[in-house]
């Protein structure tokens, strides 16, 4: 049999059958892997739910009565996250550029912001904005206070992520843009930032997922979001197991959905980079 590498010319022979079979085998394996993955999840979760059901400790009618009220809190959770994300991203973009600034004043202010906010617990910051500021004459309602606290907090962490992203853009990109006589603003806006953002999408996505969970902390200042409702209803009716399970489930679903979006985004970016 002639060696495959020696076969050139106008007629290219068909692939040997074994290649097709290898490919099919790989696809089959992948498919069954995924099937088993889903099955295991279903079984494990089913076992857990079944055990709870059988133990008769869970009251399904209670869940039915209160679930709508508790789940409605998820809407407020999403609003809180959306507001905080916008605030945090804005702060982070400005902060990242400030942290890269040669101007000592701008750099120092940004560094102080990052240091203080990253160095104190988020819960302390939430309490501070809601409880302590009134002593200075600044009284904020609970919802804005929560959004501001979350946004400020995550803004500091995201500042560092964006800064690292900007620094990760190859220097040659900036030089090419400058060699084309682009002024600094254009270089940053059109060339460096877009690439920096693509670099940090995975890290930023993780921050958003963390924020979904940290939003639960604003329940401590009476924002009637998901955890506040679950906790109130549960305490009041002495059924915290049901209500907290509901809340945990919703947070889990929210983060899973977001993770899926992020994965898809990352895959799409990877495709266009290939």
């Amino acid at each position: 049999m002639a060696r495959f590498s020696e076969l050139t010319g106008p007629t290219v022979p068909a692939e040997p059958e074994v290649v097709t079979r290898i490919d099919a085998g790989q696809r089959r394996r992948r498919f069954w892997f995924r099937v088993q993955f889903v099955l295991v999840w279903v079984v494990l979760i089913g076992l857990l739910v079944g055990a709870l059901w059988a133990s008769d400790k869970i009251d399904p009618s209670f869940i039915g009565t209160w679930a709508p009220f508790i789940l409605a809190g998820a809407g407020l959770t999403i609003i809180i996250c959306a507001g905080s994300i916008v605030l945090a991203t804005g702060l982070a973009l400005v902060g990242a550029i400030a942290r890269l600034s040669p101007n000592p004043i701008i750099y120092s202010v940004a560094s102080l912001y990052v240091s203080i906010v990253r160095g104190t617990p988020l819960l302390v910051q939430i309490f501070f904005i809601y409880f302590a500021l009134p002593q200075l004459g600044i009284v904020l309602p609970a919802l804005p206070a929560g959004i501001i606290a979350l946004g400020f907090n995550y803004g500091a962490y995201m500042t560092e992520i964006f800064r690292a992203g900007i620094q990760a853009v190859p220097r040659g990109q900036r030089e090419a843009a400058e060699a084309l006589a682009m002024p600094e603003g254009l270089v940053m806006r059109r060339i460096v930032m877009p690439q920096a953002i693509r670099i940090v999408v995975p890290a930023i996505g993780n921050e958003f997922i963390a924020m979904i969970k940290d939003s639960a902390l604003v329940s401590t200042i009476s924002v009637t979001e998901l955890l506040w409702r679950a906790s109130s209803v549960g305490n009041q009716n002495f059924r915290t197991l049901e209500t907290l399970l509901i809340a945990a489930l919703v947070y889990w679903l929210l983060t899973m959905v977001f993770s899926l979006f992020q994965e898809r985004l990352e895959r799409r970016m990877a495709r266009s980079d290939r």
């Binding site: 709508p68 009220f69 009134p134 009284v139 009637t224 109130s232 009041q236 002495f238 915290t240």
Partner: protein, 292 residues
């Protein structure tokens, strides 16, 4: 012994010790701990410094200009703070609204002032601490008048009275005060949870840290009716005068205080308070001063 043998021994001992602590105890060690809500008069009583008091005299001010009353009328809404977990005075419904005795009283007060009402959920210790920063206007939350509280809050006349009771978990087997194996209040250690309702929940969850709690009679009755494993024991420890409160560090409010006091007086007189009380407290009328 081999390394594996020693490891097994240590792990086994740890598991055994943990297991022993987790298993429901055979009983009957009753800790000398009593559970109360934070910032409640029940805690004061346990600590031996309860100072029940009456409201200061209330007189109609000369003018209402600059008063909180005007602000409320201008805003068209009276903002009332509630504790969202204090059945049957104030508690959540599945549709998200709040109902309860305090809720109804607060609503009637707003009606009397000619404005809408808005309830804000706040932790109890924040309400009793004063310094509301203008986040809400008044508290209708079954607050007992005490001397220390009068320094930071202004009180109206009481709108009802409840006795404070001791309650015990059913598992402890205690049904009367003489069965309590330690001196009250001197021999008791107080443990606090955010609200007295939480104390009941804790017992229901089977936590072993305490078997006794103190709360208002209405709360105990409500819990027992809901099937919670506690019993009311003994006579009332003391009577509470429960009133509407306004933050003294807020804007001037002499006129508002006078108005609300007047409305409460009217509600006493025309029987509406009695009616509400019977509605919420199993037919009992708690709006009369209890005869000792």
């Amino acid at each position: 012994m081999t390394f594996r043998g020693r490891l097994a021994l240590v792990l086994g001992a740890t598991l055994a010790l943990t297991g022993c602590n987790l298993l429901p105890g055979g009983q009957v060690d009753i800790p000398n701990v009593v559970c109360v809500g934070e910032a409640t008069t029940y805690l004061d009583w346990l600590n031996g410094d309860l100072q029940p008091d009456e409201q200061d005299p209330i007189s109609q001010p000369a003018s209402t200009s600059g008063d909180l009353l005007e602000q409320v009328r201008q805003a068209g809404v009276l903002r009332i703070s509630t504790d969202q977990n204090y059945a049957p005075q104030s508690f959540l419904q599945p549709d998200g609204t709040f109902v309860g005795f305090d809720i109804d009283v607060g609503t009637r007060i707003a009606e009397g002032l000619g404005v809408d009402v808005e309830f804000t959920h706040v932790d109890w210790d924040l309400i009793t601490a004063g310094n509301w920063a203008g986040r809400w206007d008044i508290s209708v939350g079954s607050m007992t008048i005490t001397t220390p509280r009068k320094e930071i809050l202004s009180f109206t006349q009481p709108y009802y009275y409840t006795p404070a009771y001791l309650a015990a978990s059913t598992r402890s087997g205690i049904t009367s005060v003489d069965q309590v194996p330690f001196e009250l209040p001197t021999g008791a250690t107080a443990t606090t949870l955010p609200t007295d309702a939480n104390c009941i929940e804790s017992i229901q969850a089977g936590r072993p840290e305490f078997d006794l709690l103190i709360t208002s009679g209405t709360v105990i009755d409500g819990a027992v009716a809901a099937g919670q494993p506690i019993v009311k024991i003994g006579e009332p420890i003391y009577q509470e005068n429960l009133s509407v409160a306004i933050d003294k560090s807020g804007p001037p409010h002499a006129a508002l205080l006078y108005e609300i006091d007047r409305i409460i007086g009217e509600m006493h007189a025309d029987g509406s308070l009695t009616q509400l009380s019977q509605e919420w407290f199993e037919g009992e009328d708690l709006t009369q001063v209890a005869t000792p």
